[in-house]
Symmetry: D2
Subunit: 356 residues, 4 copies
């Protein structure tokens, strides 16, 4: 029940970028904590777009009463960037003034937080950032909420594929989210006990993939491969260097790459052709985004929301709430969004130890 | 503990076609019930293929102790049809003789049961059929196990899509299984409260689909559409007849159809173009097959397995175990596989009543 | 879009008795179907209590938009019986008149429907009943919604207990709902592959229970027993007749019965003492009631809700919507609630076949 | 693929104390990592008991192939303590010699690790500890596997109770695990958005509990309270000091305490009596132990298992694998088990902020 420096003010909250499980608990954390300071919260609808267009909604205790288990974001979201629209930044500032917002909590990924960083830098906007990314690729924080939920859904899918793989003696492939970083694929592979994983951070060696899966298949008559959507396949020329595949196979593979097909399907075709083993692929896609957050994400998100209000109370603006170990700390927004957190050598060593 | 006509015999069990949740409980039902008659069960591996090649495995109480919650089939499966392989039928009969099988339980869909029907007709093979299809399209039985599990997985996916749809104000499309019959799509739409459903049984009217979704969208700022993989889109010429779309749109849509893309994606592109509303699609694919069976499927499957043995004990061969109301009854295999059960007018009326 | 006999009217909907998954989908079914007739729905709050006290709420499309996956009942519920309160029946009739209700849909179990039956008989009230009981013990219908969801939760719990039982080599007992009928226990036992089940319909033979579990334990080093809360233990005198237990054991067991402990705990103590095997019990209790309905319950419930409105349109009052096979039919309310549906010999034979 | 100091040896693995989700993935981590060193693993059955009695089982790749999603422990467990049995320590050492174990991995809680610490101290036993406790109350590590899974199950139960609470306008109480530390109750309350939580670390003020729940109830017509099994109620004398309850109420409450009833039920009775609001309690008990581990627990457990083998390779004996932030580090076993980690002021402040 401690009091902040300002005895009464309004806090704006917005969520930007792709939706993910945890945003609602984070909103709840903000709203309930703000009450301790006697502050009122206002929801800005659809991210920065709502600030540009002046769309807002009251956020009281009734609105956040039942948010812990709800996926998505009640404030809705968009990818609108005010710095990419003529006059939009000025309109954001005008809305803040009109709504008499004493401070702003911006929840989102690299883009949303990038705008927050710039508004803080350019206008000393009293903004605090709450990071969210299902890919877990923000370098300034150990974990972001949404990630554990995304992996949990992917692992359930992987386990279903295993049943089918065993029954039909197939190689099963699951393509999961992760454009630049392979965390989702890596964790999914670890947690489902998969036999292989392809991530953007590592060059794909098709020949060693074939050899590994063949070895597994000999033992178990099935195999499971997890791949990141962002994995890049070797081009035809690179592929030509590999051992054990004739020119014909290469030509066909080259042909495949020409067709507009998903990475998963291309790899499935290739594996089936090289190994003679029936191979099927599933793409989890948007199914991975929604649904109730896991306990881990709920706790992380609600703590983060509370902390964002504490930062405001302490006058710590231009910061993002980051988790380091069991603690929540502040990281300057400018630093927070600069660098991608890629899968490190430690984790690669771990996954290799577990894929025999 | 009643005794069958034969005081001691061996029963062969095989599973063919696509795997589905419920096969393992059905196997368990057979094996445990056979013990009441003092009979021994033998697993034939990979459907008819195992009978052709003579691959079998013992099936005692230990093998079925923990099968109620396990997806797939421990006997593995294949799509091999002995009637399509030179000399294969004779080899099936030889295996039956060599393994001294007094009777055979064949679990599978139209193809597997079709082979059983023919072997019964041609050779009076002592066979009993256990139907299984995730599509629920066998006309001789009210329900087949696997269907409830498949719909349950699809509904979970649909609910995740709703979170994202609401957050981003999008139309979300989920493409589910169902090549010829739309039961999975229909039940998924009913159980998830979807705003529209496209099934193979009904001609798709793109213009009324657009109108319906627009109306829903006005009210809720999001919409959910479920489609069967087997739905057929109107061709360009047919599409030309519709109201409200210019020539340009038609040309683009015709162009889309040329590309090798899934039905869901084609419809998503079309809707986005016609309505101006962001539209995303997810294809559930193989994720829908595996996983632990639901309670409904477990009970139905284990009862069916027990009944199959009872049929053998009563000398009722050439029959399939069908469910009618709360009862399990016998249906001649010849009849069982002839006709597809399509979504009826009653159900179409129901779904229309619920989509406002 | 067919029209009923009355071109415009208001339909009251109430839910009484214990809450269960499926009530909300049933409400949705009513409200959306009523729109086809141009009718308006009104929610009566907390069952008959709301009718007595005149508490109601509007029920339009927005209120039922997102009800398919929601447990409990948005109309709330109570066990109030107007026939047991002085002047309450008259007040119910007055509320109906004041709210200008053309007809009433009463959703509930034996008590709620019993009141509906009496109001129909005494005052020709235009009422249609929608049955709901987690115990599945209404004789006039094959299934009631809520049951499949309750069993699903119990089976999840049972599977968790199996892990612990195996790890500690224990006998695990799960006590589930079912005061008078053992359907929940029976289905839970079937679907989880339990080694024993005690239901109210069968006299408990402690000596044969001990013998059966000992046999299972020898094979698997663990055992799982499901019991109905309503199971009645043999008294001391009856227990004295059993073989193999000394006077001391009997005395201790008699002593146990004196203490106010749950049936599950009493049986656990007895089994541990007789077999020397560590035995633990879990009581699922209220955890079994809530949560999202299963697909089976959603479909059954929403269909039942739609059918209730169809009955009103057809002037079929004093009826309950029952499921028989795949069809929904009408059963006179007077008959519907008279007799309990107990577990039949068929099912007992089935469970015996599966517990070896 | 790095090599340890010993080119070939056998590693014993045992699991002791209560079973919990994560033990199987941890075993898998050990076995697969040991292969990198060319080492063989041997499972010691039922914790220290197996070492005393010489019961072991081979642990190769086939045994751990499908362990990531499996609850409990395939090595089984017991609470046997060799230091409490005459001659048992000597027999442990003899078994180690007979099985030619080069090192031992002991997985368990305070008791199991306490024995490991003493064997290391007394005999320089080459032992590495892997901590496991569902209560999360080991002070030397940020998290232990099993905890996230336990909370996840409790949160599901809490959400089911909320449906019933809302429908019946009741106060619902969920009693969860946690004898000495309230972490499970605290996390369950946070993640389910509960309105109150009672933990062993804080003295229970019944009067302020009543006041808080009354305030919540006024707003929402329902309330959810989570309590630790280990919470201690104020005795009659203490209770007498509270405001607002008459002597009669106190007497009745004192009477309640005399009966052998669970803490949850006592509190339920008290609340119902003081507030006049229907109150129901559910005790999660053993249901909370089993089931598939969550993703968080799987990853933590498998990493911990791998690290235990790395410690052996590095000759770091007498250590427990602890998690600190994102890193796994070694902590001397002697220190690891000394002190209970209790819920800290930070967390109490957080939960207070979220319960309005």
């Amino acid at each position: 029940m401690k009091r902040g420096p300002s005895s009464s003010q309004r806090i704006g909250i917005l969520t930007g970028g792709g939706d993910c499980p945890g945003l609602n608990p984070a909103i709840r954390g903000c709203v309930l904590r703000a009450l301790d300071h006697g502050w009122e919260c206002v929801g800005i609808l659809e991210g920065w777009k709502g600030l540009i267009e002046g769309h807002s909604t009251p956020l009281g205790i009734a609105e956040v009463d039942d948010l812990m288990g709800r996926g998505g974001t009640i404030l809705r979201t968009s990818r609108t960037n005010p710095y990419k629209k003529e006059g939009a930044v000025a309109r954001c500032l005008a809305t803040i003034k009109r709504l008499r917002l004493g401070a702003l909590v911006a929840m989102g990924g690299e883009d949303t937080l990038g705008v927050a960083a710039r508004l803080f830098k350019d206008y000393r906007l009293k903004v605090v950032g709450v990071p969210k990314t299902m890919d877990n690729d923000l370098s300034a924080t150990d974990y972001t909420f949404g990630f554990d939920s995304a992996v949990t859904i992917a692992v359930e899918a992987a386990e279903r594929l295993k049943d089918t793989g065993r029954s039909h003696r197939r190689i099963m492939i699951l393509e999961v989210m992760g454009r630049h970083a392979g965390w989702v694929a890596l964790y999914t592979a670890l947690a489902s006990g998969a036999d292989g994983v392809l991530i953007p951070e590592e060059p794909v060696s098709l020949s060693s993939l074939v050899a590994d899966l063949r070895a597994v298949y000999r033992r178990r008559q099935t195999a499971l491969l997890i791949i990141s959507e962002g994995v890049s396949l070797p081009d035809k020329k690179a592929a030509a260097g590999r051992e054990g595949g004739g020119q014909e196979a290469l030509d066909e593979f080259g042909h495949m790459l020409l067709k507009e097909r998903g990475t998963g399907e291309q790899i499935a075709d290739y594996l089936e052709q090289e190994t003679g083993i029936e191979t099927r692929v599933a793409v989890i896609g948007h199914i991975q985004r929604g649904g109730p957050p896991t306990v881990f994400d709920r706790i992380l998100a609600v703590r983060t929301g509370v902390k964002a209000i504490d930062f405001i109370a302490e006058g710590q603006f231009g910061q993002m709430v980051a988790v380091q170990g069991t603690k929540l700390v502040g990281v300057p927004l400018a630093k927070a969004t600069g660098q991608l957190k890629l899968v490190s050598q430690d984790w690669l060593a771990l996954i290799r130890a577990l894929q025999k």
